[in-house]
Structure formats: C-alpha cells, structure tokens
Assembly symmetry: C2
Homo-oligomer: 492 residues x 2
Amino acid sequence: MARPAYDEFCRQREEFFAREQGRGLGANLVLSPSEQRLNQYVMHLKQQELAKGVENPYELVSARHFFEMLDRINESPLFRLIQKMPKGGVLHAHDTAIGSTELIVRATRHAHLWQSGSIPQAAADPMPVYTFSRNKPTAEGEWRLVADIRSTMGDAAYEAAIRKMFTLYTTDPLNEHRDINDVWRKFMALFICFEPMVTYRPVWEEYYYGCLEELLADNVTYLEFRGLLPPVYDLDDRKYTPEEIVQMYVDQSEKFLRANPKFAGVKFIYAPLKFCDDSTFDGYLTLVQTLKARFPTFIAGFDLVGQEDLGRPHTDFNERLLRLPAGINFFFHAGETNWTGRRDENLIDAILLGTKRIGHGFAAIKHPVVLEEIKKRNICIELNPISNQVLKLVQDFRNHPGGFYFSDNYPVVVSSDDPSFWCASPLSHDFFVAFMGLASARADLRLLKQLALNSIEYSSMEGEEKTIATQKWTAAWNEYVEEMLKTIPAEF
Amino acid sequence: MARPAYDEFCRQREEFFAREQGRGLGANLVLSPSEQRLNQYVMHLKQQELAKGVENPYELVSARHFFEMLDRINESPLFRLIQKMPKGGVLHAHDTAIGSTELIVRATRHAHLWQSGSIPQAAADPMPVYTFSRNKPTAEGEWRLVADIRSTMGDAAYEAAIRKMFTLYTTDPLNEHRDINDVWRKFMALFICFEPMVTYRPVWEEYYYGCLEELLADNVTYLEFRGLLPPVYDLDDRKYTPEEIVQMYVDQSEKFLRANPKFAGVKFIYAPLKFCDDSTFDGYLTLVQTLKARFPTFIAGFDLVGQEDLGRPHTDFNERLLRLPAGINFFFHAGETNWTGRRDENLIDAILLGTKRIGHGFAAIKHPVVLEEIKKRNICIELNPISNQVLKLVQDFRNHPGGFYFSDNYPVVVSSDDPSFWCASPLSHDFFVAFMGLASARADLRLLKQLALNSIEYSSMEGEEKTIATQKWTAAWNEYVEEMLKTIPAEF
C-alpha cells in the first residue's frame, strides 16, 4: 500500500488527535472565557511541575511515593489552587479515618482517657491500648491516665508522639512496608488502636463534626461516607445501639448544615467487615434494613470492607445479599487488588448484584466485560489514588489504572479513602495526584471540573436534593474562577 | 428494579465468566487430550507458585523485581518446563544484547584485546575502554593487554569481574537505580563499553553465532532482531561497510541454519539511534533502501531506537519517513514510557506511518483510539516485560499493561529486548514472567501456546517461509507435549 503524502498524513494525525482527545474525561465541557483564562494559568503551572520530571524523573511530584513528595506538593502553587477549588463531594471515605491527625490529638486532651502500654519507638513495637473510664479500667495492667503521661512528658512531646503514631507516614515508604500484607497489618493496627478513643461519645461527635469542618475547609461540600458502626460508649458504661450512633451522625450533620449552608449534605453507607461468619453477616443485613427504614434519606446503602485479597469472596454472600429489598443500594468495594483471576472476580459479583458504584475498581482494567458493563450500566468507579499507592497496589501514579479510565471517560470520581492515615487533606491531595499523575499531561481544567461534577452526578442524592447541590456547587465554582483570576499574573 | 433469584444470578455469573474468558489470549485454542493433561500439570505448578504469594506477597516470584527473584525463578519447576517449550520466535531484541554474559567473557579471551582503565569497583566508577589492536592503540594512555591483566589477576577473577560489569543486575534494584534516566545511563554505558569489543570482526561473527546457539538452546527457533550496524573492524584497520556487516550476519545465519535445520530463520530490522541530526537521518533512509535491495528477504524493515522520553519525537521524522518506498516496512518502538500526553504520542505517528508492529506499546493502554486502531489494523505489540521492569517503567509485573492486552486478546508477542544485561535467557524468563505476573491466575497452557503461534503469525515471514516455520514449530510442540507427559507425576 502506498504511503500518504505528508499533507494528508498531517490531516490524518490531526483527526486522530481530535478523536482521541474528544473521548477523555471532561472533553465535552465548554469553558467560559473566564475559565479559559484560568485554564491557561493552570496548564502553565502543570507544565512547570511536569518539566522538572522530564529532566529528572526522580523529582516528579506525581511519580514518586506520596510520602516522599508531600512537602513539595504542599508548597506547589498548583496544589494551593486545587485546594481552593470547589471539588464537589467525597464519595469514598471511612468515618474514623477522614479527619486530620490534629483531631486525634484533640481527642487525647479529653479527661478520663487511659493508656496501657507505650507509644512505639520502633516500627515493630506494639501499639498502646486506650479507653475512656472514670476509674482505672481493669485492676491489673499498667494503665495510666493520659493526663498524667502528658504531665510527665510535656504536652508538646506527647502530642508529637501521637502525631507520629497515628499515621502510615514514613520517610522511607519503599523499604519500610515491604508488601500489601505488611502495610495492611499496620493500617489495621491504627484503626484498632484508635477505635476505643474515637468511640467515646464526646469524641465520636466532636471527631465527626471536625471532619465535616475539615472537608468544608478543603472546599468539599458533600460527603457520602462509610462506617462499621462500632459500639459507642460513655463514662456511665452505656453502650449505644447502631441506631443511636447513626442518630448522632444525623444530629451532628444537621447542626453542621445549619451552621454551614454552603455544604450540600451527608449520607452514610453501612459498611461492616467482610471477615465475619454467616450469622454475623445476617445481622448486618437485618441492621441495614432497620437503619434504612429509620433514616431513609441518610442511609445510602450497604458495602463490605477489609483487605480484599484475604477477606471472604463475594460468592460467600451473594445468596443472602440477593434477599435484601431492592430499596437497599449497594456500593461495593471490588477490585482493590493487583491480582487477576482471584479475588478481583468480586468485580463481577458486584456488577451483577447491581452495585451503584465500585469502590476502587483498580483491577477492572483487566476485565474487558467488566469494563463494558461499567459503561453500559453507568456504574461509577471510586478512584482513591493515594490510598492505592500507600497500600502497595502501585508505585508510580502514572501506572494507576485511573489514567486508562480518564482517557476513555469511564464514569469515575476521585476520593481519598482514609486520608488521615496518610497525612492527606480530605480531597485536595488526591485531586492533585489524579491531575498530575493519573491524567495525561494534556488534561486540563475540564478534567478537574468534570471530576467535581461527577461527584454530584454519581452521588446518592436525588431530585431536589441533587438540584440544590448542583446549584450550590455551580455558584461556588463561578465565584472560585473569578476569585482566582484576580490573583493570577497579568500575562494569563 | 427487583433483584434476580439466586439461580438466575448464578446463571448470569456463569455467562459473564464465559464471555470474559472467551475473550482472553489463547481462549480460542482447543487443546488435544495430551495437551489437556499437560495443562493440568502446568496449572498445578502455577497455582503452587501463586499460593506462596497469597499468604505472603513478598514471596511472589512474579510481583517482585526480577533481580530479587532470579535464583528462585531458575529453581522453579514451572520455569524449567517453560524453558523446554518450543516458544516460536523472538521478534524484539537488539543484536549486541541478546547473548549471555558468557559470550562476552569468551570475547575477552581473544588475543590483541586492550583495556584502558579499570573494571569498576563501585557503581559510580567509570567503565574501562576496550579495543582490539596489534599494537598499543594510542601512544599515551594506560593501555594494557587484557591477556596481561588476566595473567596478573588470574583468569577466574578477571572473568568474574567481567560478568559483574556487563549487567544491570544488582541485589538492591529498588534503591540502586532511582529512576528511568539513572538506569538508562548505566544501560547506555554498557552498550558503549561493549561496542569496540563486539565490533571486532572475529568477535562479531562469533558473538552472533553464539546468540543463535543460545536461542535454539532456549527452544526459540526464529529471530527477527534489531541492530544499529556499528562499524565492524579488524586488526588490519579495515572498517567494514554496513552491507559487509549485514553480509556477515547473512553468512553466519546460513551457516547456523545448515547446522540446525530445526531453526526456521532470521531477519534483521535496521534500527539506528533516534538521537541524530537530519542529515544523519537521511543517511539512515538511504542505507535501509540499499540494504533492502541487496538483501530483500533478510532485511525486514526499519526502526529507530533510544530512550523515548529524551529522544527526538517522531514528528521530526514523519515527512522524511513517508518518502521511503512502501516496500520498506516499519517496526517502530513507541510508547516505551509511563508518561501520557508527551512522547507517548509517538504511538499515533507509528500507527499512521503504517508500522507493522509496535515495540513495547507500554503507554498504548491510555490511548483509546490507539487501542482501537491496533485491533483494527492488526498491529502486533511486542511486549518486553522484564525490560520494562529493569528500565523502571513498572515495579509489580501485575500492573504491566500486558495483563490488559492479554485479557482482551490484543495482537501481542512476548520478547526479551536486551536479555544479556538483565541475566535473562533469550526468551524463557520473559515467558515465565508473562505467564505468572502479567496473565490472569486462570490463564493456562493455551496462553503460552498462543504466544508462540503469534510469534510466527506476526513475524515478517511470508508464504512458504511461514508455512515451513509453522510446520517445524508444530512438530516441535507436539514432540514437547509427549516428552513432558513422560516426566509428569502419574496423578495428572
């Protein structure tokens, strides 16, 4: 076959580019003149950051481990611009891992907190046990009041130790956590250590309210979060029921929404551990129905959590799950693994069970029929890029499957999973990493805007609720664009 | 929407699985009863290896760095079974990096080899310079005869030092090479150091013949290799022309084929460096036409090589490349990068220029129209998984895009690129890694067989040549299956 003339070749090349770029996430958005100007500045900042990594890939903020680059990201003007951006909602995050470490530090300032064991000096040391109690929790054991430890160590030293303990952060992430099981062990230990501290009723309410404040400060205005509903307690040995605990979430949410009318709303996905026996599982299903009946708009639906490679497969639960009334929506974690042909097949169960969204969907890229069905059924993939890197699924963000999902406009949102434990903000760091590392170097403001829009579109809000949320977000976005334009250099 | 009954759900699940698995590489092959028996044993061995990695991901041979796992792979019964398998052809490898380090050691035993500088003690030390010459190569400089160094050090010590020097192998690959530029600098230094040793005519011929022997010993029976045609010389200061050099390849190939009728053939892709000015490039284009006219069946076509992120983009060359007669086929490297929206766009040029195959295509996964065109035009992607890991594109093989290409039966072959420099066999290690790390845990003997068949299908052989190669491979495969069945345990 003869080769085309150069002119014809160039025409074909233009057409190819147009076809391909027309398919990317956000490509259908038409930017206003103001947005176009802001976009020029955004792309200037992006290209500046990327240029460092062309000459010296080791300096690329979006290719290395988040922990190694955190300080540099925080100093980046592009990151600060993304922080201020109205990002819509967080659709994938776990209740006790959303707030910053400062909220945990604040919890340790409460009276009646006891500690048994010491704060680890080395990574392999066991973590201490905490509980709130009027008196020494058990007769035996080396329980000390945290107030006394604080007096001895000094508040600053104690709080510094707390900050260090309640994170997976390390300066040497490539070597310190060798594999996914290693890092998950540490990750689970954080949740376990933290639980009796956060399930103390005053802390429970204060921590959750603090999370909402931090979300809003990060310009996130909707939250759809997952929780296990662990037993909340108080100093009178009262153990609150799951309904009472959800009621606390509802009450705090309403209080927060009254004080912050910019915030669009909150919903809850009941997401207990998939490491359970069948009768425990039956209890979960009964509970989610009770909760849905009692809090019909607050309860979005049901999910199961835990390290996917090691947890029970979905096939163990399918028969029971199908008996749930159709009114209970599913939001299953699936494909949070880099295996293919093993537990990643939960993806198929999740889809056939009618899941509304898929948590992570990291492994979906290697399942062509899963990919087809995701598009056909418009199932949203909840990407959590920093989580996937910290929990050892991928090293270089440029190899995260999100890049594939972006390039062909799969239904996706970006979220943060457990930002507390990786020192990340509620959403901005994941947006930054998605924009710089997952997306094409050519992807622009339209991608960021589309991610925000998707977080409303794929939320569990409906009707009037969704309309209002969209209006609030649109107003905030337009204001943001105009405000940013006042601060950018004149040449843009 | 009401949920389906469990029976109906299970039926849908079966159907989903069948649809998905019917799309994978090799899924259309029907195994004979003998092959089915062998397959059961293969899958038993595969599951045994994978099981180690479920309990302890750090022990998974196909998830860690190849260098860290090389000894364990070599001990694996599944690897030994793959070594013996007739694997078809190597379609992507570079001439002076195919042979084992032992061929380099053998080269240093020739008389008249001079060395200036020392063999490095530390990674940062400069490499020595070599040349063959009757007399001291230059008046100044600290040239010593390798024969004299051998006498002083002892042959065993000298050869051990050579073995260590001519490889990227290190026991700490994650930390020793920090990024792609780091490891490419070392990689290029190996080629540069090695070139004057291998371009000495007696070594040139002996090294190439040795490569063919090693390919056959690894049960590879066809080679389509790339080369830069660096000037070959002899002790009489004769510099051979590119045509003379290709003639040496032809002569050695014919000699080898006469001695080894199981081998199906050899072809050559002229692949000079893309780091060149325009007039040098014009010279390449003239040369490839001269070579094609003189060696019409031996010369398969044209390619360009060099680190893609840093080399000139294809757009610099398109106009000139289009002027080449249609009889010169292209086999372009493209998408050997984890960037998106930069030099990976060479993929689009390569396709529109009519490339027959794509070298690497690592980045194609993030280009939906590239993916469509690859299928539509039946362009074969030459996967080189170990190369991509050693050269820092991906850490865990399970995140290599080959897994995606396998899952939806893209036209692919597996090859080895520069196996010499990573202590790999001509093809078996890449086949092993592809089978264990890229492919699904469920992928079986059909995938391996299809990879071998693809290497013939997507080769540059045509007509009778291809028919004979297929017949030879089929005979070898059937013999292999029967031989293996004699050795496997009775329960299979």
